[in-house]
Subunit: 469 residues, 2 copies
């Protein structure tokens, strides 16, 4: 075949036309459905005979990459190449593809250990309270069981959220709060509302890996700023604002994912000053809020929801099975966000909202969360000790939450280790999945609530042993 | 002030520069965050002095429309103009703005009559069965109550869906079915997967009004084809394919919304032949499937899920409070759709999936649906009689479902009538909300399950009386 293909000038010319066309399609210079240059145009631009182009186009058509439409020429095949998130961002090693990690954690059953996953074990959740709430709802009104509910979502839950936000000095009335299908969907709606394809968005490096996947889906240009133990590196942040003129910055202020760090007041102040100078909007993902013993500074509190939007959910402390998140934003934005929510999801689940409101008001939630904090604190110090004994170094000792961001001994590659772990039914979260700059190849994120099993540490020890230390 | 503004040549020149800039920003020729032409450039292009441009830019900055950034010039203000669906499509009379109708129906309380809404009364839903399912779940495992669940969604429900689709001759294994947060979210994910901003999408005229809102959110170019009692007008359909080269066609085959018509086998066959010739994808929204007595032709069945994607939900026959929809598509598309779902929503609600599976398997669902059909049939003939007596003319008598698409007597405008209705706490669905061509100004969509109250007909009678008939 190779011989045949290179057996004559014509063939190589045909090949040239084919590969040139292929690369234009891959680069989306020719988008799906787009019309190809006419035979003549192509022959002229590529300096080949028309018959060469005809053969090239015919072969590409045979491959299904392009199609001829009677009388109207050739077109890039449409539905053979729908959006693939891989094609938007850089193609990553599967083990550090953010979506792949999520899928492993979500798909793999109980035979897998998941020190890399982002949630607490089911047994840690307020199951009795949830069961009570389900029974209460079973006695509730028909409309709660079957109606769409209001566009903003269950008022009972929005009132609660408004009250609890006051405790973090974030003043937002129930009408400034919109319930969503999840915390992720909250950020997704905001991206739709605030950015255009091609806009630049700033994230932390490292940051929650699904931010990368989500922003890819929005075709955003993503730029990252190194994260320090007190927040993003302010000089780098300022530099990025001037160089890349982003529209948006997405971050966790408190118990940052994956580092467990929390924003300091000084950094919060400087960050907001810069945000104002450059007129960017900030999405503050506060999903870990309830794990904090001592509330740390919140951008939403400093800013008063002017250019900061706060989002959150109940997946981490209450239930991820009952999907519900929220957006707290400027009143004038809630209108547009509600329209987008109706257009793209119609509702956010009245049942979910009522269930959560009932769990949050049955008088046991604070006790449950207090219990979680103690339990996490114990797991945190125990895990850190074991990681240290194994030879890993925590980047810092988080004040709260479920994550430790850990440096591996030199010479150990987190991605390779994650692959090895998977072979032994252990799902690790390798650093570069969190790092746009791919500078965290020596780090792993550990979930202290999922890291009790000795097998996890045995895999680490073996890997270290093999490096000859 | 006006005097001052027009008091000198300079001022009018400044005004000219300002308005020129304003319109470029409004037209997004200058997008949010974009750099304005330099003072010199602008002075040259507009043939004015630099000082005039300086003053114009300063005033626009004072208005907050643009901003100066030290050393780097002027930029269009970013966050002052987030996405508004109004700005994407043509601005509509509020009463026929699809989103506005949805919001009225969703927001207004029981003091409102809703002959224009798209769902059944709560009392028609299988409430006992739902309560049973909640109590069953309250005895279920912890992980069902709290875990995210698998990316595709509850397997029990996907197995059920696969079996029930066979009854419509749609062959799709559980792994070809992905659960979503709603039927709307199913279409939304598919649009993300299949189209780019600016792509052309074909819809029926009339069609479900939220298709217009959803496609606006995707910045799609929407083209419509007249709908006939047996499906879209095939000649117009063919013409639209050649003229506009759409990527996608979104439709209901069975019990079409709003007309209540159903696709004929002949039209289905021709439509699919055209779809293949022009390589377009079809989303078949089958949300009303269970209302049919006699299953009518399905594009998904004819096509075998090659280029047709079937979506549906349980909002119409079971519960809209438990949000859950589904996508049945080619196996090779499910992978990419799952990635998109994780990136933009993370999960679709394990609890919702388990609840619905339990309701669908408790042995009462078929009986419930049979009851709904009988009840709807009665309401349908009763409503049609009353509408006829009142002077309205059904476009056709639907074989099933909840909708009648009705022509008003000549001289009566549905939009005006909808506004009048709202003043009297009645929410109508005026025709042009469903019509891209705005050619349905003489039509209303009635929900026969919500049209029993005499007040509805009194408003119609009064309006007709006022036209002097």
């Amino acid at each position: 075949m190779a011989d045949f293909l290179t057996s004559g000038d014509d063939t190589t010319l045909v090949e040239r036309v084919m590969s040139a066309t292929r690369s234009r399609i891959a680069a989306r210079t020719l988008a799906p459905g787009a019309k190809l240059p006419s035979i003549r145009q192509c022959a002229e631009t590529m300096q080949v005979s028309k018959s060469t182009v005809v053969e090239a186009y015919d072969r590409l058509a045979a491959e299904g990459i392009i199609q001829s439409r009677r009388g109207s020429g050739f077109y890039v095949s449409g539905h053979t190449q729908p959006l693939s998130l891989d094609n938007i961002g850089p193609r990553l090693d599967r083990a550090i593809d953010p979506l792949w990690i999520s899928r492993q954690s979500l798909e793999m059953g109980d035979e897998f250990l998941k020190p890399g996953c982002g949630w607490l074990p089911a047994s840690w959740m307020p199951n009795d309270s949830l069961r009570r709430a389900l029974r209460t709802l079973a006695r509730g009104n028909d409309d709660i069981l079957t109606d769409y509910g209001s566009p903003l979502g269950a008022i009972a839950l929005r009132r609660l959220l408004a009250r609890r936000m006051c405790e973090h000095d974030v003043e937002a009335g129930p009408d400034q709060i919109m319930l969503t299908g999840s915390g992720t969907q909250a950020i997704d709606l905001l991206c739709r509302f605030l950015i255009e394809p091609g806009d630049t968005v700033l994230v932390d490096d490292p940051c929650y890996f699904n931010f990368h996947a989500l922003l890819r889906a929005h075709r955003a240009k993503v730029v990252s700023v190194p994260y320090t133990p007190t927040g993003p590196d302010i000089d780098q942040f300022a530099k990025a604002l001037t160089e890349h003129r982003p529209r948006l910055y997405v971050t966790n202020s408190a118990i940052h994912n994956p580092t467990g760090a929390s924003l300091s007041s000084v950094v919060a102040h400087r960050l907001l000053k810069l945000a104002e100078q450059h007129d960017i909007i900030i999405i503050e993902d506060d999903i870990f809020a309830d794990f904090e013993e001592e509330p740390s500074p919140r951008l939403a509190a400093f800013d008063g929801l002017e250019r900061v939007v706060r989002i959150g959910s109940f997946s981490k402390t209450l239930s991820a099975s009952i999907r519900c998140g929220y957006i707290a934003a400027r009143p004038d934005w809630i209108e547009g966000l509600t329209a987008l929510k109706i257009a793209t999801a119609f509702g956010s689940g009245r049942l979910a909202g009522e269930l959560l409101a009932s769990v949050l008001t049955d008088g046991t939630y604070r006790k449950h969360v207090a219990g979680l904090r103690t339990r996490l604190a114990t797991a945190m110090s125990r895990t850190i000790t074991r990681l240290r004994d194994t030879g890993l170094t925590p980047w810092l000792e988080p004040k709260a939450g479920m994550f430790v961001w850990c440096r591996l001994p030199d010479g150990l590659d987190a991605t390779a280790l994650a692959r090895k772990g998977l072979a032994e039914n252990v799902i690790f979260a390798p650093g570069n999945a969190f790092s746009l700059s791919q500078s965290a190849g020596g780090y792993l994120r550990f979930n202290v609530a999922q890291s009790a099993d000795p097998r996890i540490f045995r895999i680490l020890e073996d890997a270290i042993a093999q490096t000859g230390r």
